[in-house]
Structure formats: structure tokens, C-alpha cells
Amino acid sequence: MRSEALKGHLDLMLLASLGSEPAHGYALVERLRERSGGTFDLAEGTVYPALYRLERAKLLSSRWTVAGGRRRRIYSLTRRGREALVSQRRDWVSFTVAMRGIVGA
């Protein structure tokens, strides 16, 4: 799937990916690729502006960690982020049900 088509869903994808456990940018991109079965062809750099935006909205928090000599910024969901994930997931399910009814897939 093309990068442009995915951009509109990026926030939900990132929130959902971080819903299971905190991660740094590279691990998040890997997680998205794995979970989509390699379907999502996302420009990796685009996750950073999205992560910063979500952090500014207080849906994510982040902190530096050092492991194995590597310094990484780990992102995790805040309480507000968890609430947003629940709400956006609900909207997404309604949307896909409605689209399926229209498109007929």
C-alpha cells in the first residue's frame, strides 16, 4: 500500500502499535511492517513527525534509554493516549463495517 494512502491512518496505527508495549522509532516501523504482513510501504521518516505530534497532544510520552551502548528514545502511551486508542479503534470498526457494506468486499 502506498505511503500517501497510509498517512491518514498513521496516528491510529502508531497508537495501536504502542498499545501492546513501548518502543523506539525503528522498532515501531518494524512492528508496523510485521503486523501488516509487509503490505504497508511506509516512508520510515514519516513516523517521527507523527510521533512528535502525538506527543505534543499528550497522547504519547517519551524518554531516553541506553541499552547495549545505544541511546534510544522510547515512546509509550499516556492515559489520554489509551483513551484515544479505544475511541479511534471504535470509529475505525464502524468505518470499516460501513465501507464493507458499500464496497461489498
Binding site: H24, V29, E44, R72, R73
Partner: protein, 206 residues
């Protein structure tokens, strides 16, 4: 220089300083590319597109950062203005402070209190409406400049008026105050530039 490092350097060139936020972004991206290697670089996307998106986000955060940086600076002025002189200067030789010192000292203290009030307003505005935060910050830095100017004049005149006052301490205090003021002004300029570049900002010129 590797292709990955060239990418990061180009990104650095295109991003605003953003009160230190650029450094964090570059550190994260450099680590990402180190971990993912050339494959990650190939999938990373055009540097100009990433720079545009990141710059927009960094600029949006500058206002929030400035909204607590300048109030912190203003609060620190309590040391050169009050704590340090109060604990280091010899007792004044007069019962009533000479008028030529008193009014300047009151003006400096008053201006600092106004700067503090603006700083508190900036803290609030920074959380409610970050785009407008440059105005209370501008008020805070300007009144702080007045406080520093009159505070410095008082410090110099105090040296003549009170025997035994330490000139080194007075000049060190003035230098520190001036340095803090310059830092505050630089933060303000960065916040103002970010607000101007932010599309749709109420500050943007017609």
C-alpha cells in the same frame, strides 16, 4: 562520509534550531538509520519532505518550550536581584536610603515583578493557546530588560555609596544578569520566528 550521514547532515541543514529540539530529532533519526542500515535509508523518504514535516512540528513545539524557559529565566533573576546582594553586601551606612538610589531600585524591582507577571501569563497561554505565547514573552523580556538596566545602574552607584562593597561581585552579577537577558532574548526571537513561519498563525504578516 556515508550516505546515511549525508542524509542526516542535509536534514540538519534544513531544520530550524527550535531551542534544542532539532538535536533530539537528529539523534533519533541517526540512531534509526544506524540500526536499519542502508535499507532503512532507502525507505526513509525524500529528505526535503521529511524536513518540511519535521520543521512544522518542531516549530509548533518551540512556543511550548519557550513558555516555560523564559519564566524560568525570570525566576532565576531573584538571585542577582535579591538573594546574592542581600547576603554579600555590607550594611548600608544610612538610615534612609538616598533618593537617587531608592527610585531606581524600586523601578528595577517593579519591572522585575511585571516581568514575572508576564512570565506567569506566558506559562498559562503556552498551555492554552501556544500561538499567542510570544506576546506575554515579549512583555516579560522587555520589562526584564528595564529591570536589568536599572538594576545595573543601582549596582554601580551602590559601589560608590557603600564602602566595602565588592566591585568584583557587583560586576559579576551584572554580567550574569546581562547573559541571562541575552539568553531570554534569543529564546524569544526563536519563538517569534517559529510563530511567523507557522502557517495560519495570527502573527503572520498579511
Amino acid at each position: 562520509m556515508t550516505a546515511r550521514e549525508r542524509y542526516v547532515r542535509e536534514l540538519e541543514r534544513r531544520l530550524p534550531f527550535a531551542l534544542g529540539l532539532r538535536r533530539r530529532a537528529l539523534a533519533e533519526i541517526r540512531e534509526h538509520l544506524r540500526e536499519g542500515g542502508d535499507e532503512a535509508l532507502a525507505r526513509f523518504g525524500p529528505v526535503e519532505e521529511l524536513a518540511d514535516e519535521l520543521a512544522r512540528e518542531l516549530r509548533a513545539r518551540v512556543a511550548v518550550r519557550a513558555s516555560w524557559l523564559i519564566p524560568t529565566l525570570v525566576a532565576v533573576f531573584v538571585f542577582p536581584f535579591y538573594v546574592v546582594p542581600e547576603n554579600t553586601l555590607p550594611p548600608a551606612p544610612w538610615d534612609v536610603k538616598p533618593e537617587y538610589l531608592a527610585w531606581k531600585q524600586q523601578l528595577a524591582a517593579g519591572a522585575w515583578l511585571v516581568a514575572l507577571a508576564f512570565a506567569v501569563a506566558a506559562l498559562v497561554v503556552g498551555r492554552v493557546k501556544p500561538r499567542l505565547v510570544v506576546w506575554p514573552l515579549l512583555g516579560s523580556v522587555s520589562t526584564l530588560a528595564v529591570a536589568v538596566a536599572f538594576g545595573s545602574i543601582v549596582a554601580v552607584q551602590w559601589l560608590d555609596a557603600v564602602p566595602g562593597s565588592s566591585a568584583a561581585l557587583a560586576y559579576a552579577g551584572m554580567a550574569a544578569s546581562l547573559m541571562l537577558l541575552v539568553v531570554g532574548a534569543l529564546v524569544l526571537v526563536e519563538a517569534y520566528r517559529s510563530a511567523l513561519r507557522d502557517c495560519g498563525s495570527e502573527l503572520a504578516p498579511d
